[in-house]
Symmetry: C2
């Protein structure tokens, strides 16, 4: 289990990544340390304008999700759950100077939105990882709490991802670098997934499963939907694809997990993906459950992650 003590921001370290007992967030970029200033443009933060170690040095848990409102709701929820001394009004969007992403800090927990799709989360992750590196954060766990389409499981089920796969059911992320394609592993932290799954067993109000998660580049044609502006395949072909996905172990589809897994893995972040399913894609394409049902579904990954964080922090939980 990772240490939950705040990182010492003043200690001198000869090597950021081998400091005894601590696993520091690292970058894989030989040019970064020689830069006079690093402007994290899409977060509206920077190394000269902000004291990043002071602001973020004690971060141990980073939770990311697509929707800004949902990540604000999660921040407010965590504030309540961690029973922190400061007032709810003190929880301000740290990235208020930009509308690309929003970010809230609640004690050792950072809650950040990433928009929809691989490119959008990738920009956020580059700048988040640099932020954690500049802030000298160590032993950071990062969890994507998202929404997804389920395959063969009841709507409202939560899926903990054991393997993030692409449209071809392969556990890989293809990164275009200049005009080359580099294939990266999308392996997630197995122990973390197990720990989260054990945590979920204590929650009786919704089902949680472990399974593969498919990550696509769009919501309609790439996910076999018949209700987009474009659809060139038959109902049978679409259903056959989803059934093949199910048989390959895939239990849900979303749009960020492969690049999330690949980048976190390369930079020393223990990562997990926990998404609720809003519908069962073997039954329908449209998300048309009542608004209050969808809102309740979206709270489920938050509840699980809150429980997990409190366990890690050694806080007693008598509420569920």
């Amino acid at each position: 289990m990772a240490s939950i003590l705040p990182a010492s921001n003043t200690s001198m370290r000869s090597d950021r990544n081998t400091y005894v007992g601590k696993s520091f967030v690292h970058v894989k970029n030989p040019y970064l340390d020689s830069m006079d200033e690093d402007v994290l443009y899409h977060l509206d933060l920077g190394t000269k304008t902000h004291n990043l170690p002071e602001m973020f040095g004690d971060v141990k848990f980073v939770c990311v999700g697509g929707s800004p409102n949902r990540m604000k709701a999660f921040a407010l929820f965590m504030h309540k759950e961690l029973r922190l001394a400061d007032s709810e009004e003190d929880i301000k969007d740290i990235c208020a100077g930009t509308d690309r992403y929003c970010m809230y800090k609640i004690g050792p927990v950072l809650s950040i939105s990433h928009g929809m799709g691989i490119p959008s989360i990738s920009i956020m992750l580059h700048e988040l990882i640099k932020l954690l590196y500049h802030a000298r954060c160590s032993d950071v766990t990062i969890i994507r709490i998202g929404t997804s389409g389920g395959i063969g499981i009841a709507p409202g089920s939560v899926v903990i991802t054991d393997e993030a796969v692409d449209s071809f059911f392969k556990p890989r992320f293809e990164q275009v670098i200049l005009d080359n394609i580099v294939t990266r592993s999308t392996e997630l932290d197995k122990e973390l997934a197990e720990e989260l799954f054990n945590c979920s067993k204590e929650i009786s109000t919704f089902p949680t499963v472990i399974g593969h998660t498919m990550c696509t580049y769009d919501f309609y044609e790439g996910q076999g939907r018949l209700d987009g502006a474009l659809c060139s395949f038959s109902r049978e072909k679409g259903l056959d694809y989803l059934k093949r996905a199910y048989n390959a172990g895939i239990r849900n589809i979303e749009m960020e997990s492969t690049v999330f897994a690949a980048m976190c893995r390369l930079c020393g972040l223990k990562a997990a993906v926990v998404c609720v399913t809003l519908l069962n894609r073997l039954e329908c394409d449209q998300i048309n459950s009542p608004h209050d049902v969808l809102v309740e579904y979206q709270k489920r990954p938050q509840l699980l992650i809150s429980k997990f964080i409190k366990q890690r922090l050694g806080l007693c939980d008598q509420t569920s």
Copy 2:
């Protein structure tokens, strides 16, 4: 030149796409018309909950851009420019029920945000095109007004895209459909680009050029930046790639143009891409111009498009 008269929402038509003299927005999906209801989930609109022809039937210009704040600013700017009778306070976010996108309507002009990257704009376009189809819109011009990195041109220059190309400098968009890859043309409307370029000649306050636009899947490694969390190539290799792009006719890089061109083309929307460049990538990677300079740059495409729309609407322009 397209008709600017409002579409008749009550006329009966036997064929949406061949009605004399009008070019209707169409979908390429044989299943859509048989659906009892179409929920445009990410726009928080639907065919049963909203009267789409009444709300949107007169739309002739759709302007899209990544940032919600920028698209709200554009809506307020157009409201001023078109001198519409209603008050500025009446301009409300039509998609206020969701935080995925925002949308404003100013007379015949729709202003919508699309987030960052191909997947994010693709979801919005599927639902926007269905909206325009359900609303029986005709003769619609769609323009992406965005920000970009320039190649070999002064920061602040505006680029009108003549061809949207991928990371390999090819005018194509590769769409994954189920587990197949389908290559689509990214051809944009040449006459529209010319019309916009002619319009720009009347603006003396900033330079506008016509050139190819490269569309990438990320902001850092895919665009040859040395300042991401990950960088595996040398400074020389990165610069060589950008120079080869320049020699291939590319004048700016952004993250949405190929799928935008491909989808609009397939659905009968005359499309253009007009982006300002925030920096010259042959000189630097970081966007670190002062805030007020960047804000002024971002107004430039808006100024050009406002001029274009007013010309199309036959409104006199004495202001520039």
